[in-house]
């Protein structure tokens, strides 16, 4: 556990006035507040650090204790123990008896703070701050997000059932209000931000709501036309192949693409590129016929 220099954290000198502390804290809070730095873990961490520094330095009692024992916080613990023993023996009182500790959630405070000021802290009468947002990743397959479905997640021991709307994009973030960490000084609880990581193990390429796929057709189908049954994410469909189809021809199947996010019944398009496969091992008869054809 390292010593935390709260003065350095707030960028002020040791003889800074209460007003200086307040000003320095406000300035940094405006820069690092979680609302102004969405999804920035580093800023959130720094914000907690300046909160902790302000918690100590803006309270004259805590500041006194920190100034006296800060650098040698381990001795402060020993001193506290000695004081408590003296108190039991009838020598009570002392400079450190004024705290009313309550059991709160102190997870946002450093180990240094905990050891110097105990397992809990007095509540500031100052600003309330919203709890930190938690970030999580949810890995899904392209098939999973083709249809709206419900999924149960375990977040901090609590089961949360969420609805994942069809059409969610890879990298898209949804916010679950109130599933983040507890607020400071009675501030509101943070949110849980879930980032969807969509693994595509299908033959389709997705671009927004549109899907792209390459389908093989044989030479005869390409030349003479015919039918080809293809797989889409919504099931099999039969397509007509026009006679004389060139290799690389692209066709658009309207509404056969990916569902549009939060627009029920709306779909993007599916683009099929025909890949004409030429026969590789011709029989003697086929060679003969192709030769005849070439002479026509």
């Amino acid at each position: 556990m390292d010593f935390v220099d709260y003065y350095k954290t707030l960028g002020i000198s040791k003889n800074a006035s209460t007003d200086d502390i307040k000003k320095a804290y406000r300035k940094l809070a405006r820069k690092l507040h979680p609302d102004l730095n969405p999804n920035d873990k580093e800023a959130h961490k720094k914000f907690q650090q300046i909160n902790e520094a302000n918690e100590v330095l803006s309270d004259p009692e805590k500041r006194k204790k920190y100034d006296q024992y800060g650098q040698d916080w381990k001795h402060a613990d020993q001193f506290e123990k000695a004081k408590q023993q003296q108190g039991r023996q009838g020598f009570g009182g002392g400079d450190f008896g004024g705290y009313t500790y309550s059991s709160g959630d102190d997870s946002e405070f450093s180990d240094f703070f905990e050891s110097l000021f105990g397992g809990s802290r007095t509540r500031r009468s100052q600003a309330k701050f919203r709890g930190q947002d938690y970030n999580a990743e949810l890995h899904l397959s392209l098939h999973d997000v083709y249809k709206t479905h419900k999924q149960t997640l375990t977040i901090n021991g609590k089961n949360v059932r969420i609805t994942i709307p069809a059409g969610v994009e890879n990298g898209q973030v949804i916010r679950l209000k109130g599933y983040g960490s507890e607020g400071t000084n009675g501030g509101p609880t943070g949110d849980l931000l879930i980032t969807f990581v969509i693994n595509n193990n299908t033959p389709f390429r997705r671009d927004g709501n549109d899907l792209y796929k390459t389908e093989d057709i044989d030479l005869y189908n390409a030349l003479l036309g015919g039918e080809k049954t293809i797989d889409t994410l919504g099931g099999k469909i039969k397509l007509k192949v026009s006679p004389g189809t060139q290799n690389g021809t692209k066709i658009r199947l309207k509404g056969k693409g990916f569902p549009v996010y939060k627009k029920e019944g709306e779909f993007g398009d599916l683009y099929i590129t025909w890949n004409v496969k030429l026969p590789t091992h011709l029989t003697e008869k086929q060679k003969e016929l192709f030769t005849e054809l070439s002479k026509l």
Binding site: R26, A29, R30, H33, D35, L36, P38, N39, A127, K128, F129, R130, E169, N170, G171, Q172, R175, K177, G187, P188, D191, R206, D207, G208
Partner: protein
């Protein structure tokens, strides 16, 4: 719009210990929208996240309305750009 999706502005102000005038000025600036039903003002639940953020910016960080407007605009730009980055990464 479902009735249960609406929160009375009065209740919101009491809960957050803020003045009604602050909500009105946010609405006048077009930062939030307020729904009026039978002479009472309501906030839609979808607006809550945004509204609570504005309350924190104003009351915790002493940012005035003009500052909130600017921050809101810039945050929207950041979000837009982040979405664009995600889309571009997906195309790579």
């Amino acid at each position: 719009m479902e009735q249960e999706d609406l929160i009375p502005v009065k209740d919101f102000c009491i809960h957050h210990n803020i003045e009604y005038s602050f909500i009105s000025s946010l609405e006048n600036s077009g930062l939030i929208s307020i729904t009026s039903v039978k002479r009472s003002s309501f906030i839609h639940v979808d607006e809550m996240h945004k509204l609570e953020k504005f309350v924190r910016l104003h009351y915790d960080l002493d940012i005035n309305l003009e500052g909130i407007e600017t921050i809101n605009y810039l945050l929207e730009r950041i979000e837009e750009m982040q979405r664009e980055i995600v889309n571009l990464r997906n195309k790579l």
